[in-house]
């Protein structure tokens, strides 16, 4: 259990029988009076944010949460299946749990899966991924400085903006946090 002064940004807690991460914590106390800790928490699976306040005498349960690097195996249309490469243990996530990560999912690649009480509840991509362009307009030679871009569809189906000199079938590195093109993949 966590006491009120252990409620810090980034701590994962269990409140109302649900898993959350603290995104901000504020300690308030009238001089001779009771202390309160106000926290803003984000749901680990659906991302909704709520506020809660605790008295200094209250404790909050630490969430039974484990992060695991897992390999994406396949989707059957209803579930997305991942495997722990060390134990071969498999988990499945539904569409709402996969969320926006769907844009970056490629078979055989590794992703960060969050397990709560042993069950997968969300998945996030690494900060950078390398993906192949399946469709874009032909490249324009020599234009490496103008900053102009064109849309390119990647093998996962997502569309990103790429510089004009990039060609179809090239592999590029993308920042998954912003969806921005970073560079041509090396090698």
């Amino acid at each position: 259990m966590l006491t009120h002064n252990q409620l810090r940004n980034g701590t994962r807690v269990e409140i109302d029988d649900q898993p959350w991460i603290i995104v901000s914590a504020q300690f308030v106390k009238p001089g001779k009076g009771q202390a309160f800790t106000k926290i803003k928490i984000k749901h680990l699976a659906d991302g909704r944010v709520i506020e809660r306040t605790f008295k200094s005498s209250e404790t909050v349960a630490k969430a039974d949460v484990v992060d695991k690097v897992m390999q994406f195996l396949y989707s059957d249309g209803e579930f997305w299946h991942f495997m722990d490469p060390a134990t071969y243990e498999q988990v499945a996530l539904g569409e709402s749990q996969v969320g926006e990560t769907i844009d970056w999912l490629k078979e055989q690649e590794n992703y960060d899966v969050v397990l709560w009480r042993g069950k997968a509840i969300s998945v996030s991509p690494p900060p950078f991924v390398v993906l192949e362009i399946t469709h874009c307009e032909p490249g324009v030679k020599g234009d490496t400085v103008s900053g102009a871009t064109k849309p390119a569809t990647l093998e996962t189906g997502v569309t990103v903006k790429v510089p004009l000199f990039i060609n179809q079938n090239e592999r590029i590195k993308v920042d998954t946090r912003t969806g921005d093109y970073v560079e041509r993949a090396k090698g």
Partner: protein, 310 residues
Amino acid sequence: MTDPLHRPAADRDTLVARARILDAVRAFFRQRGVLEVETPQLARAVAPEPHIDPLPCRDGFLLSSPEPFLKRLLAAGSGPVFQLGKVFRAGEVGRLHNPEFTLLEWYRPGWSLAALMDEVAELVQAIAPRPPAAMMTYRELFRRHAGVDPFDAPLDRLAAAAPSPPPIGLDRDGLLDWLLVERIEPALMAAGGLLFVTAYPASRAAMACIDPGPPPVAQRFELYLDGVELANGYQELTDAAEQRRRLEQANAHRRAQGLAPLPIDGFFLEALAAGLPPCAGVALGVDRLVMAALGKGRLAEVLAFPWERT
């Protein structure tokens, strides 16, 4: 910009300004014949409070206030005294809190609470000038800024007066604290300036004399500076038996909240029994005063090494 944690939080200009403020405080009291004293920060027994935790350590406690020792000096005939030093409060870390902070505490034998409030205002005006201080009773404060009477309103009305629902299980005092931090302090912050709040509920008397009323109210004030609680003063309780009863009540309250009772300073009670002169006393948070004087937003900005950097 990077700000590695090994570096001080306060910049050098702030430390220079802080040192000047400490000088000004000492000069203020020197001119007025108030004696600077140093009493223990580490002691074997304390004057327990329901919501303030001294820091337990191997040999005793790092004290949350020098009050018992300063009153023992007063009872011994010291005349007016002040102490400017560090105190400790376990678990208090936040925008306006650091578990170790600088407290200025002083006592005026033979003075009324009103006379002391004037002196507090003079000191603060000399360091963080504002328009003349306003004055309001605790009751008026709640009526004006929360639309409820703190003494008479039913608990469900108090709970409904806050912008967000209070944690469950709060009693009247707890709900009033909740309204204070959720509704009233934000209003005072927006208004700015100096405000003395007086006539606290008797349940919040701590070491203050109580006016019988009705309703009975504590002869206590708090000074707010731009909505931040800066100082807390009392017409000091001199009755040893009543003081013992309140300290025991504080321990009972602590037990009820699941906190350990604290060893009561018996010498403090003996000094009161031997005779504490009628007096008014006040404790003022120096870091918060420096913050206000320099227009800083967080306590950590005026500390060389706040908690996160220790």
